[in-house]
Amino acid sequence: MKTLQYRLATLRSNPMPILAIVLAAVLVYAILGPVESVLSAAFVAHAGDPGVTQLPGHGTTFYLERMFSSRAADRLFYQPLWHSIELTALTAALTIALGVGAGWLAARTDVWGGVRWNGILIVAFMVPSWAFAQTWLTIFKNEHAAGGTGVLQSLGVRVPDALAYGLIPSVIVLSLHLFPLVMALSIDAFGRIDAAQEEAAVLLGASRLTVVRRIMLPGIRPTVLSAAMLIAAGVMGDFGAPYVLGLPVGYNVLATSLYGELKNNRQGTAAVLATVVTLLGVLLIAGDSSLTRGAKRFQTLTGGTMRLQPIRLRFARPFAFALLVILAIVAFAGPLLILAGSTFVDKLGHVSLADLTTRYWWQGTGNRDFPTGLLRSADFWIGLRNTAAVAALAAIVCAIVGLVAAVLIRNSPGWIGSLLRQLTFLPHLVPGVALAAGLIALFVVPRGPIPALYGTFTLIIIGMVISHLPFATRTGIAAVSQFGGELDDAARMSGAGWLSTLRRVTVPLLRRTFGAAALFPFISGLKELTLIVMLSTISMQFLPALSLDLSEHGYTQQANAVTTVITLLAVAGGILARRLGGMGAALAT
């Protein structure tokens, strides 16, 4: 039996388990705190809600009834729920179809370019999804939205609402944004199928079709199902694209209704929605991890060293190539061109040399709301500064926390290390909108030594750090395990204490990976919309919020100019991150 004295002696030698427990406690508060306050906010009467009979602070089932069984339930809950399910399922299906299809062409056939296509198409993932959505409106908007009509209608093509707003464009926009992830995953899965497996089947007399049906598809099925779950969880918590595309016709999904309820200060019903969104997220991630566990059975079998011979497309080769080129045009080249191009023409739909103008960028249009050009507008520069500063600070904090967590996890044997690891992955389960709702509920009032944080930059930074923590920890763990614990052990064996080991070996080694660990949260922070829009107040200016605001008021081209800047920053950063070996990084979120 180990005595207390013995445990103290081992902790004197390596006190990291204590630090791990401290960090775990902080994480429990920062992650479970918001979840807990959302849950409780759903059951406690809030001041100023008409219809609540209980006094503020007392328990109530009013919000549950209102959401689930009142006359308004259909509009407030069931319709958004159905829309969410519809959107999630269709998006997952289309994403998988595009991703696996493109992945198959790139990895398994002799199409020109091969797997390099993934590096090209991944740009679509770097463009924020709500920027896609704005581009969609730029093209398809009809007279039912504020401001002028889109390109097509201006050219005289009648665009029906169903094509301009709501479900169909949301599915298309989100799928084009997300499919490169599935593509990368399936290229990886195709690569892991051992050539011998297919060849063995062919030698046994299987036809091409049988090989595809019985060998290839089962081989990548775990990857595909897992990807579908992760995509679905992402879509469920995504707020930007459905908001931009749904607003003109009142199309609501759970995430956007949650936003609406919060904006109208109905915290009780918002809490019910946030709880439902979180539950759905947890279900999807739980489904994924049970699938991934099942998939391990497959992986141990394939030590595949033989690369598969690519399938020869013969006459279909140019067509396959053309298909990928079209995908690249539709998924990012076209949208980017239209997004940026729309800011240089006088009016959408009138494209001639005479119409080229720089007034959206410089001279200004002279309208009341946004009189100057973007580059001469103080709002833009303040927004850019705020966005960059918040993203940078959050990224730095996130990278530090992630690396510290990784070091503590490695140096804390037993349950302490695994507890900490699981805690850092917990934010995965909480969709962005629900996290934001929770943070508001938690920090709208002072909590002990922590002042009320709602409406401060600090809260936005906390939100970003929490939401990027799983990624940062994963990067940290990868970095830490890349160097191996033996380097630290070697320092101990050379006579260095734990602090000296940390100072002279661990930190200098990790300093090199710090940039990579911080860069990706930084890019995500730049284009982050959900947390910014939900956690910022009117007085705080951020570029994504500015763009959304302009777009809502019908200033499409000004909004597009702002979005163009963010998109260029995000894409440039994303490409830089990949250059720095962040391929895994780019896939991790």
Binding site: M1, A9, R12, S13, E486, D489, A490, A491, S494, L509
Partner: protein, 344 residues
Amino acid sequence: MSLRLTSVTRRYRGAKRAAVDGLDLDVPDGALLCLLGASGCGKTTTLRMIAGLDQVDSGSIEIGVRTVDAPASGVFVAPDKRDVGLVFQHYALWPHMRVRQIVEFGLRERHVPRGERRELVGAILDRLGLGDLAERYPSELSGGQQQRVALARTLVVRPKMLLLDEPLSNLDAQLASEMRETIRTLHREFGCTTVFVTHDQSDAMALADRIAVMHGGRLAQLGAPLEVYRQPATIHVARFIGEPPMNLLPVSHPLVASVPRDERTATVGVRPESLRLSPASPADPEWTIRSALPTGASWVHSLERGETVISAHVPAQAGAPGDQVTVAFDAADASHFDASGVRI
């Protein structure tokens, strides 16, 4: 410094059986001991517990007169306070430091003055033939050079005890034999108790003055190399040591029918080189040669008779595959094991 392990047990969370299970080991001062065993037998865990990088669950470890790990009495000495040096299997050289800085590391931790530090580092680098490489980074060194840097880093602080984890397994044959020589001379020069871990019985035989064979987390046998080879304490040791391994035959087998035995004998073991082969007369067919493979100086034959297959290691080829031979040996060369596999 002597080393004593007393009923040391280490069980990892969730593992079915203990990695190290009641291990007793006594290593006299100045010994060159090898921990030998198949992978997963607990030898590396044992080494890490001696170093202090892992903790015992129960039992105790003493280095010299000092107890360094004993949960029952609440003693645990940190790895950096044990005066033990460890050379890692994959060397664990810090990639952000130059060779000189790596070797200097331990001296700085011990607050050795700068001038003396330079002298000591220079001396050990020259001693190990690394004098020209002091300003290189580990990534600019070959595997053999990296290992010598790891040795220099460990030896420069004059540890009371030297631990080596699989010191020869990452080297090609020629480098390995050089390193054997290096370890042996360093051991003589520095005179510190040395414990090394290997899974390779020929390394153990060639290098150690004592071998501790481990099996399933326990000590199977501790003895001088030839003692372990000639008088294996268990069937397991007999199987593990020697290439090809000892022939093990049930006591009822005709080949060992004439060997004197006592009533406990269940298995009789004979080393392949103890066998003598002679051509069999067609009237007296005994063993059929399955294969005859030259090792250079001698021949290894695989022989079969019914279900039984044995190996014979003899100076000259005894026949071609398919030929019949007669097998003989001196009864005194046989090992006897009881039903539980323990030597009688």
